[in-house]
């Protein structure tokens, strides 16, 4: 099977590989370049766990061939932090408990980053619409929305993840 040469930039670094035309971009990133932060969660382009940026646009990398990315600038979750300094979205997801198992999280953060690039102060509806191509099974999206609100400076300071004051109900007999 003949291969094609692809040369691209990933998180600022020049990378290249010889790949079959059918080789998916997500496999290039994960299996060839070892950037396993981008995940695969489905086979019908629904779940968004594989979302990365290609030339500044968010893209489902499972639905793109590596050869289509020849010459492109790719950004993955591994390229979001600046050394030890987390990207505001990464920090916000942590602060707001916007992740549980973490599997959808890289794709979610990449999509949120693109969203905020397009729309720096989205409304709650715009946030939900913006991540409607990213499925999460763990969080119910509530804290993901809050994380994106925090990262876009729209969460009031001091407000962290929802903590309802719990009360002990006196009637309960303790033994």
């Amino acid at each position: 099977m003949s291969t094609q040469h692809v040369a691209l930039t990933v998180n600022g670094e020049a990378r290249e590989a010889d790949v079959e035309p059918r080789f998916l971009l997500v496999h290039l990133l994960r299996d060839v370049f070892g950037l396993t932060g981008t995940h695969i969660g489905c086979d019908t382009s629904n779940c968004g766990a594989c979302t990365v940026h290609v030339d500044g646009e968010s893209v489902k990398s499972c639905t793109m061939l590596a050869v289509q990315a020849d010459g492109a600038e790719i950004r993955t979750i591994e390229g979001m932090a600046d050394g030890a300094a987390l990207h505001p979205l990464q920090q916000a997801f942590w602060d707001q408990h916007g992740l549980q198992c973490g599997f959808c999280t890289p794709g979610m953060i990449m999509q949120a980053a693109w969203l905020l690039d397009q729309n720096p102060t989205p409304s709650e509806h715009e946030i939900r619409e913006g991540i409607s191509g990213n499925l999460c099974r763990c969080t119910g999206y509530v804290n993901i929305v809050k994380a994106i609100q925090q990262a876009s400076g729209q969460l009031e300071t001091g407000e962290s993840a929802p903590v309802e004051a719990a009360e002990t109900i006196e009637a309960a007999p303790a033994s």
Binding site: T36, G41, C101
Partner: protein, 794 residues
């Protein structure tokens, strides 16, 4: 506990603090280690040929073309495994399942052959090149038809006196008393309720890397497993049965980060066994990762209960009795991960939150040509099914007699002073305050205003509904006198070791898949011993090092392993007290413990911090005492725990399209003492979403040929952020009296409680049109058809 009752500082981070999760740094950077991230030298890939037919004879398997595909190393069929007696193996329910068939396939997408190749892509090409000659057989998809005379016997491998599709019969309660109560009831409600198959569909699918080292004769199985120790023991038994030289001390099951489990990563799927067999035969690591279609079409499903329920009550709505008969569709084999005495799980908790003395529950398991199961998909062993049924029945009763559903519940609740409460099916509920939870939910949502609004809207022909679900959950399996899985008792464990510099390593027998154990279990230790959470490392999932446990599912981690963690901490504290007495030259009775240190009563300056004590354990222990500071506890819970809650849902129905829109949803949960409020809320948000999904969107259905009609995410509809409401959550706190830290577990409460709240809301909106019940998922077309039949137009 309230903020006023926090016993530790935020820096220590004990119970009640919303400590930010310790596991997050790797996930937010994309540095989680999931199974498909693992690459071992020389690793091969395994992919699986699957049957397009739900029931068929295999006339022949031709691997010749597949073996010519560059990179394909081997093709394994059932006949190959038969030589090792590996073609069938036990299920966790004590039934038998095929690893690969030798002559007959039993469900669409069943594994038929395995291809092992040098790359992911070559393995896929190999699969596409394997030619299988099938002879289709009559398909049985209806469990009622499966029980009829003359139905094809799907499991001829069973004993001669079990040549039927009936798997087992299970009953609970007192039939005579229940019959009498129903017969004499002033009001009887009878209803058929079907809860369809659904699928856990965690975003990460299942997979493993099996690594047999032929030199050391050791098997390392890296695996997505919610119960690694149980898997190790099962593998050891299967290997022994097959005469393979793989014994338990040489098996290491190692989990990595798991991208969601929800019960789906408990069973032993053929893919895992095939990878182990392939690695053993070839002597190289073998990776198996299923894709989403395989996951949805072949892995264990949840639910699929056909329930017939009868509820008896007085004219005023006081419940007097309950009878339930259920047909449980298990697919072609009972692969349910239920405790062995409970083939229908804890379904007999179906008497719910209500005080009445007469109940009888019977369940019959049935084989059909569908994938096997069912798992505890965030349902605590069939509790979702039970709660859905009782909450629907109670709502129908209320509407039937014209009483407000909240009022009816209040009048029937087990009252706080009645706890511990023995139900007619034998459970002893530990504690609860159901009226307080419902009252709180009603206040938050503005229940009376909503009923007024509903009345006004109804005058104008607008359809709005309010639904309540007041559920009692039953988790923390379980006491050894009653609970085991394949004979393994359901204790759980924690082993704690304190290092000289006052840092802690603790290993637990449960397995997080996103629940935040690295944080919450550290918080338990922080609470007990005063070490800051940041100084405590929690490990799990490596069967070589973690103490034996039965894993995480059915919300058992906090109730069982959490208790073990507290008890192990207290053993350490006992020794610490002795060390402190030695260091302070005082008697143990003269010491008091506050804020992470022991001090002499009346002389607070004479104190030793837990860190100083830890150091002393290695440098200055008294003669006659063993050095070191560690403890292990295997906790056998005295009872289950019973989280509960009241949920209220408001829906609006679009008369033109039948679409149901959830306007508001208030969830008041009580899981006893709360370790980390932020994490508990996260569990509830996620659980509610997994309750919304089957209520309105998700179901797995089959046509008459046994073809799965929802086999990809195009048709198996997970809610996105747009479908999911902004959940409103609140708490009451009723500690468990028997649990060392008063906690109850919460992971599945919301998935259990939410669907009936939504279903009740929709039926409430339509009751005045003569609607009594709508089975979930409540799709727009179902509602539209009802509206059309009732003559309602947009």
């Amino acid at each position: 506990m309230t903020t006023e009752q926090l016993q530790t500082t935020p820096e220590v981070g004990g119970m009640g603090h919303s400590v930010k999760r310790k596991e997050d740094p790797r996930f937010i950077r994309g540095k989680g280690e999931y199974i498909d991230d693992l690459v071992l030298p020389g690793m091969l890939w395994l992919d699986i040929v699957r049957s397009p037919y739900a029931h068929a004879k295999i006339k022949g398997i031709d691997s010749s073309e597949a073996l010519k595909v560059p990179g394909v190393a081997a093709v394994v069929t059932g006949k190959d495994l038969e030589g090792y007696k590996l073609h069938w193996m036990p299920t966790l329910a004590g039934d038998m399942q095929m690893v690969l068939p030798t002559d007959t396939v039993m469900y669409q997408s069943q594994e038929v052959a395995a291809v092992i190749a040098t790359s992911r892509y070559a393995a896929a090409d190999g699969v596409a090149a394997v030619l299988v000659d099938y002879e289709p057989l009559p398909v049985v998809v209806d469990p009622f038809k499966a029980l009829e005379e003359g139905a094809p016997v799907l499991r001829p491998d069973r004993a001669a006196d079990k040549q039927t599709n009936h798997i087992w019969h299970w009953e609970s309660g007192d039939k005579a008393k229940a019959d009498a109560a129903l017969a004499s009831a002033e009001v009887t409600i009878a209803e058929d309720i079907y809860i369809p198959r659904i699928h856990v569909a965690s975003i990460e699918t299942c997979g493993c890397v099996a690594d047999w080292d032929p030199v050391r004769e050791q098997l390392t199985l890296h695996m997505t497993s919610q119960a690694p120790h149980a898997i190790r023991t099962v593998l050891a038994l299967v290997a022994a049965g097959a005469g393979l030289p793989i014994s338990e001390q040489n098996i290491r099951v190692k989990t990595h980060d798991i991208g969601g489990g929800f019960g789906g990563k408990v069973p032993v799927y053929p893919g895992y066994v095939l990878a182990v067999a392939a690695s053993f035969l070839i002597g190289k690591p073998v990776k198996w990762i299923e894709d989403r279609s395989e996951n949805l079409q072949a892995d264990s499903f949840a639910r699929d209960y056909h329930i017939h329920a009868e509820l008896g009550a007085t004219n005023e709505g006081k419940i007097t009795g309950l009878k339930v008969k259920t047909i449980a569709d298990h697919g072609y084999t009972d692969a349910a991960a239920d405790p062995s005495k409970f083939p229908a799980g804890l379904f007999n908790v179906i008497t719910g939150s209500y005080d009445f003395p007469n109940a009888f529950v019977e369940v019959d398991g049935v084989y059909t040509n569908k994938p096997p199961g069912g798992v505890a998909y965030r349902c605590s062993f069939r509790v979702t099914e039970a709660v859905h049924a009782i909450e629907r029945m109670v709502d129908i009763l209320a509407h039937e007699i014209g009483k407000d559903p909240a009022q009816l519940r209040m009048e029937n609740f087990i009252q706080p002073e009645q706890f511990p409460y023995k139900t007619p099916t034998g459970w002893e509920y530990d504690s609860g305050n159901y009226p307080a939870a419902l009252q709180k939910a009603m206040e938050i949502i503005g229940y009376d205003d909503l009923r007024r609004e509903q009345a006004e809207k109804r005058e104008r022909g607008e359809l709005m509904g309010i639904g309540i679900s007041s559920f009692t959950e039953i988790v923390g399996a379980g006491p050894s006198h009653t609970f085991d899985i394949l004979g393994l008792k359901m204790f759980d464990s924690c082993e704690i070791r304190v290092h000289p510099t006052g840092k802690v390593l603790a290993r637990i027998g449960v397995q997080t898949q996103g629940q935040g154990h690295e944080t919450t279990f550290a918080q338990i230790i922080a609470e007990e011993l005063g070490f800051p959470v940041q100084d405590i490392k929690i490990e799990y999932g490596d069967t070589d090092t973690a103490p034996y446990g039965l894993g995480t599912y059915a919300s058992r981690s906090t109730p069982v392993a959490g208790a073990a963690t507290a008890m192990a901490s207290r053993k350490i504290k006992d020794k610490a007290r002795k060390l402190a007495a030695h260091l302070l030259e005082a008697s143990e009775d003269d010491l008091e413990w506050t804020n992470g240190k022991f001090s002499v009563k009346g002389s607070p300056d004479r104190s030793k911090t837990i860190q100083e004590i830890a150091f002393a354990a290695y440098t200055n222990h008294p003669q006659g005492m063993e050095a070191g500071l560690e403890a292990v506890d295997y906790y056998d819970p005295p009872n289950l725990t019973f989280p509960f809650g009241s949920y209220i849902c408001v829906v609006d129905i679009d008369k033109g399209t039948g679409q149901v829109s959830v306007r508001r949803f208030v969830a008041v949960d009580d899981c006893g003492n709360i370790i980390n409020p932020m994490i508990v809320d996260g569990q509830i948000h996620g659980g509610l979403t997994m309750g919304l999904a089957p209520a309105l969107y998700e179901s797995i259905t089959y046509d008459e040929n046994g073809t799965n009609l929802a086999g990809t995410f195009m048709d198996y509809l997970l809610p996105t952020a747009l479908e999911t409401p902004a959940w409103e959550v609140a708490k009451t706190v009723t500690p468990s009296p028997h649990h060392p830290i008063g906690a109850k577990g919460v992971g599945e409460s919301a998935t259990v409680g939410a669907p009936p709240a939504i279903a009740n809301a929709v039926v409430d909106a339509l009751w005045h049109l003569g609607v009594r019940n709508i089975d979930i998922p409540i799709t727009p077309q179902k509602v539209w058809r009802i509206l059309r039949e009732k003559g309602v137009t947009a």
